[in-house]
Amino acid sequence: MRPRVAPEPERRARGLDVALVLWPSFLAACGASLLFFAAIDPALLREVGPRLFAGIDREAGYALGFVFFWSVGAFASALSLYLIRTERPARGDDRAGTP
């Protein structure tokens, strides 16, 4: 049997998977940072937070906070993508079943 070549949308550039992980998490991180830092001044974390936050000034606080939100989002995105990619095909689904 001739190997079935998947049509265009099913075969994609590797970079797109990276984009699919980084982009939605980036958007989520923007929203999360906006809400979080509107309510909480990162300089306050140094005063009231654990010793971990000592030496973090406001600018560092914003950047680290953003990177933190972004990482959490990226982890969730990557996990979702992994689960989608490794899903067992539904029975009788000719798009996903063996040719």
């Binding site: 550039a13 984009a19 906006l34 001044d41 600018e59 989608i84 899903e87």
Partner: protein, 467 residues
């Protein structure tokens, strides 16, 4: 519009080839015409605003500055604080509602003319066309060997791209830290690590999105592209190919009457496909990849002019119009979006106009409920926090009400608070012991002496001995 089901990885044996393939590069053909001019104007206006406004001054400070280090936002004459987060939320809601409104009215106007992705891609493509030439030359250059000319053209393009991306990152960060200071820091090589981080991040994002990803951002990454169809109806302006007029398509000699050789008006020159920045064929109908830039309209109009056929084989039209029915501009969806938009915009303006640039916090002294003064008066202590949110200093007077005989024994009046500052003031209230028994609900009022509109009242309690 259905979501494409992705083929699961385990199914792909080696015979199927690699799971991942390189995205096919799209070489959009250069084009001129009404919609191209409109987009060029939009690009120049929007990028002009972005790169220019950062340098404007207003009343001794940067006109538009979301000063994160100082936690205050300057918007021309207005200074906003984190406490004013409501305005930002309202602004975002207005932006979303406008997007809904204009999408329902005229399709993806946002995508074709205003989206940063489109705007910066356009700018990067201009550089590409300028350094590497028109479409056919670019394709030949990419296929050909690495000659001196190719190296020169490619490195010129990359240099310009990188410079533009870096300037974009710098400008972006310049909206969050004062841009002149930032520029000075760069020139003096004393840029802080976090500014460097943000400039690099935004520069890289610009370079990657506008230089390389381009239409793939719209096709694979943009959520709006997927859900915009929910705002479409049969009266929404979309770019459509008039299949009834165009089909059957086919080549013919110039001057041939299409119908006499059994053909429609489409000569199948594929120019509409070549100019498309997302590489689709509009003749296959409306697709979610279409960013409504109108390049295919311009290309087709040009061809129709040459063939002596009327323009508009590909045109902005509605599904209803295409099927010979009337288009309704006013419809329930539009009215709902418009009503919501007006309400939210109205409330934003109302709250901005009536915004009180003063905050008063009253905290009772935690150490003692009350204190007897010379056995005849009862005194309570408070901590007042007066926050002046205005751009200029104000002088305030504190007064009390809600209890007979209650007087302010401290602080001394009036109180001056500099612009954008917090004053922590210990206050003492005293009342005759005969009247002070029990718990009394009282109010403290802070009023600006120099601006009668600015006054804030805060409720608290006055506690005396249990009667």
């Amino acid at each position: 519009m259905s979501v494409t089901r992705l083929k699961p990885a385990p199914d792909l044996g080696p015979a199927d080839g690699p799971f991942y393939v390189a995205a096919e590069k799209i070489y959009p053909r250069e084009i001129s015409g009404r919609f191209t001019h409109l987009r060029q104007a939009a690009v120049i206006a929007l990028l002009g605003l972005f790169y220019g406004v950062a340098w404007l001054r207003w009343d001794g400070h940067q006109a538009v500055l979301f000063d994160l280090p100082a936690r205050k936002f300057h918007l021309f004459g207005l200074t906003l604080w984190p406490q004013d987060f409501l305005y930002l939320a309202l602004l975002l809601i207005i932006a979303a509602l406008s997007l809904f409104f204009f999408t329902a009215l005229a399709g993806r106007l946002w995508c074709g003319y205003a989206c940063p992705q489109t705007v910066w891609t356009e700018l990067f493509v201009w550089i590409e066309q300028w350094t590497e030439g028109p479409r056919s030359r670019r394709m030949k250059l990419d296929r050909g060997p690495w000659t001196a000319e190719k190296v020169l053209r490619k490195s010129l393009k990359q240099t310009l791209w990188v410079a533009l991306a870096a300037w974009t990152g710098f400008t972006f960060v310049g909206y969050f830290t004062p841009i002149r200071t930032l520029g000075g820091d760069i020139v003096a090589f004393s840029l802080g690590p976090w500014s460097t981080f943000w400039i690099t991040l935004y520069g890289l994002a610009t370079y990657g999105n506008a230089g390389f990803l381009r239409e793939q951002v719209c096709k694979y990454m943009c959520p709006y592209a997927r859900f915009q169809s929910a705002m479409f109806d049969k009266d929404t302006l979309v770019i459509s190919y008039d299949a009834a007029r165009g089909e059957p398509r086919g080549a013919r000699r110039r001057g041939t009457a299409a119908r006499s050789v059994g053909l429609g008006d489409c000569i199948d020159c594929t120019l509409c496909v070549q100019v498309c920045p997302t590489g689709i064929d509009i003749r296959n109908g409306l697709q979610y990849e279409c960013i409504a830039c109108g390049a295919c309209i311009d290309a087709c109009d040009e061809v129709m002019d040459k063939m002596g056929s009327p323009r508009g084989l590909i045109r902005y039209t509605t599904e209803h119009a295409l099927h010979g029915r009337a288009t309704h501009l006013v419809r329930p969806r539009m009215l709902v979006y418009a009503a919501l938009l007006l309400t939210v915009t109205g409330s934003l303006f109302y709250s901005l106009v009536t915004r009180m640039p003063l905050i008063l916090d009253v905290i009772r002294d935690r150490n003692a409920l009350y204190r007897e003064v010379r056995g005849e008066r009862i005194e309570n202590a408070y901590a007042l926090k007066i926050i002046n949110l205005d751009d200029r200093a104000h002088t305030y007077r504190v007064s009390v009400s809600g209890m007979e005989g209650l007087e302010l024994s401290a602080p001394s009046q009036p109180i001056t608070v500099p612009p954008g500052s917090v004053s922590n003031i210990p206050a003492r209230l005293a009342a005759p012991a005969a009247r002070a028994g029990g718990v009394h609900r009282i109010a403290l009022t802070v009023a600006a002496v120099d601006a009668p509109r600015i006054t804030v009242r805060e409720n608290t309690r006055f506690i005396g001995p249990t009667p």
